[in-house]
Symmetry: C2
Subunit: 424 residues, 2 copies
């Protein structure tokens, strides 16, 4: 027996990477969590179906945060005075070590999940820490909140402090396999994802071992790529036989090709690395605020899109300060403008349309048919009541949507759906 | 009979441009609106004075928005897809023309002043429009709200559309003089400031006439300088005898020297222009978000500070999207990091300390002894209750202050004082 529901409101969605469609007081028909149709006028056959009317509010596709560190949420907005490698050692690793303590994890992850629930984010791809109990706690909390997520128990067995390092490669792999078995079918909307922190944190045998687990259980992979100059120089030392950083992952069997893979950042990916990303269908998680805050640089996102790369958007908390994907859209546009003005006029700034696409369809594609209002897509939506963002003149829906990116916050997010289920 | 009041809370203030002082549960003694002392322990002689205790909240110096366009508030967050000159013609001038209609101005300026009141801003230097009644309405509203401000009736008699242009130079000067007479002593905390929009909008005789009015009434001046490459090229055509854009203002007698003067932007001021700014004591209103959104570039602010220039911070709404000076601090730091990474490693990024200084002491200095907690300074303060910005670990006051810049909004601003008077 199919379940049909109707949603009514001011609908705005990406109809392609360069176009946003807007429909005033339109109807969305949702059948078993999947969009059946988008209608200006309700077809007669649907009359009488249960309807949720959001009045004058904006109804948008839910947003996908393609890369976020849950344990770093505790120190969001702090310690923005260093570049990546120093920042990891000074701020990040000491904080992540605390998640050995489940009581601390309980407090911190409750806060993270609550904030995420009240944002426009419906789906997220998440780094946890190396700790199993805390990682499973996080997965449970996300699932209880109804948010869709991939969550990774982090692997790191070198170049990190004793207090935040796997006891041995075998121990790391045993832990990871146990965690996979405990979590792969345990939740409704949350799944495990293989997560080497990045190559400097993982010995070669750990990387190869993770690749075997990935294949054995058919899991996706996430990691970091070409974020910072010093990091890239380090990779050249660690992997002298690789053509580039991406190729190093590829040689470990951890760079997509036949399975879903996300690489965060790709700020300094050269042409050959970009080609490999494209060829292997790797998703780029663009993290503009983090790349600004850690003075990493700005990825040439419009070029990525023109060349057919899969790109989504990321808050990368706590390199980024805020869980808000609206802010991430703002920062993506702003970073691209400064890249254009200060550095390289061959890559045009991101339009509002493209930045909105990244946040919705671009990252949503990692989850399948997700991220826009089109028949066959999962019904993920965020409802924005923008009435508090007062204005004296008439505004089009397109204008209201653009303003919301710059001005709206959690107060404006009044309802949210994940795969047809209302979670807020 | 002197009036003494005590304020208690977690005090944070700039003790110099590179240092922030923090005092847990300290006392501020305020006598007739001026800070008498800052105390860890209350001196006995002050016991019994009326006290306002803000508990665990942060008490900061109020912030000065050194350059903001009140009539552009209506379209904040919109139309971010153009550079300056096209943006003025497409979005700005049509909106500013609406302020001929006093009913529209009433709606729009009420919204602007309400938002400003709930921000951390205690003082502002404001562009209005060319229209007298609307400008006086804005001044009245700011004064009624208790905010300290300089407000400028804008002058523009060329290179702007017919619908937003002075009828003649004489008409502009007569209007401006009438407005000066009507407003210079009319308000408690609001004063007029001479405001040529920028050289391209004002004929030479208008500029000279404004300089005479400035001198006759002893008023300060504000305008725009070296924001955008096309604008600067235009100045070279319009003022072929000037050495640079700043020198052009100087030749009109509108570039400080013996009187207070603010120039917004100074993104592309070369070494000679910077020297003239320094020599004449001109205040630079740094507008980082606007300079990003309009793809203008990033001013070398740390160099300005090292060279002793007066610099304050500006939201420049609606080039900037938001009235929040906290956001302006964030954008100032972020813009300076990308300038360093992408363009010029000889100018170091702004530290948090320097960006906070710009927002408080830097811009406050335009109003005299304003912008920090030091005896003799006006007691301007914003109280931030950051308890909603939850965190699982202990945080220092310095850390709480930094996070507030990235995370706090109007909900966290729970009280505000201007010159000792509580306005929120």
């Amino acid at each position: 027996m199919k379940h049909m529901q109707l949603i009514r409101g001011n609908l705005c969605w990406s109809s392609g990477m360069d176009t946003i469609a807007c429909m005033e007081r339109g109807w969305l028909a949702v059948e078993d969590g999947v969009i059946e149709g988008v209608y200006r006028t309700l077809p007669e056959r649907l009359a009488g179906c249960p309807t949720q009317d959001f009045g004058d509010a904006l109804v948008l596709p839910g947003m996908t945060d393609l890369h976020v560190h849950a344990p770093q949420f505790a120190f969001r907005g702090l310690g923005m005075d260093m570049e990546l490698l120093e920042w990891l050692n000074t701020y990040t690793f000491p904080e992540e070590a605390k998640y050995r303590d489940l009581a601390y994890a309980e407090r911190a992850y409750s806060s993270f999940v609550t904030h995420l629930l009240h944002s426009t984010t419906t789906r997220a791809v998440v780094f946890a820490t190396i700790h199993l109990p805390a990682t499973e706690l996080l997965m449970r909390k996300l699932d209880d909140a109804g948010l869709a997520a991939y969550v990774g128990k982090v692997n790191m067995n070198r170049s990190s402090p004793d207090y935040l390092r796997e006891l041995s490669t075998n121990h790391a792999l045993r832990d990871t396999e146990r965690w996979i078995l405990e979590t792969k079918d345990a939740f409704r909307t949350v799944r495990p994802i293989i997560t080497p922190r990045f190559i400097p944190s993982c010995t070669d045998d750990l990387m190869f071992g993770l690749a075997r687990l990935r294949e054995k259980y058919g899991l996706p992979v996430q990691s970091h790529l070409s974020e910072n100059y010093s990091e890239i120089a380090w990779i050249r030392e660690l992997c002298p036989k690789s053509k580039n950083y991406g190729d190093a992952y590829d040689q470990f069997g951890m760079f997509g090709g036949g399975y879903p893979c996300i690489m965060a950042h790709c700020v300094h990916s050269d042409e050959r690395e970009q080609e490999l990303i494209a060829r292997n269908g790797v998703f780029v998680a663009h993290a503009p605020e983090s790349n600004i805050n850690l003075a990493s640089g700005v990825a040439p996102v419009s070029r990525f899109l023109d060349n057919g790369l899969h790109v989504g958007l990321s808050t990368d908390v706590a390199g980024g300060s805020h869980e808000s994907m609206l802010r991430a859209v703002m920062h993506a546009i702003q970073a691209s403008k400064l890249r254009w003005r200060l550095y390289d006029q061959t890559v045009k700034p991101l339009s509002f349309e493209r930045a909105f696409y990244l946040a919705t369809m671009g990252g949503g594609a990692f989850f399948g048919q997700v991220g826009t209002f089109r028949p066959g897509y999962a019904f993920d939506a965020a409802v924005l009541d923008d009435s508090s963002l007062d204005h004296p003149q008439e505004l089009s829906l397109r204008d209201r949507l653009e303003r919301a990116v710059y001005l709206a916050d959690d107060r404006n997010v009044t309802a949210k759906y994940v795969a047809g289920r209302r979670v807020l």
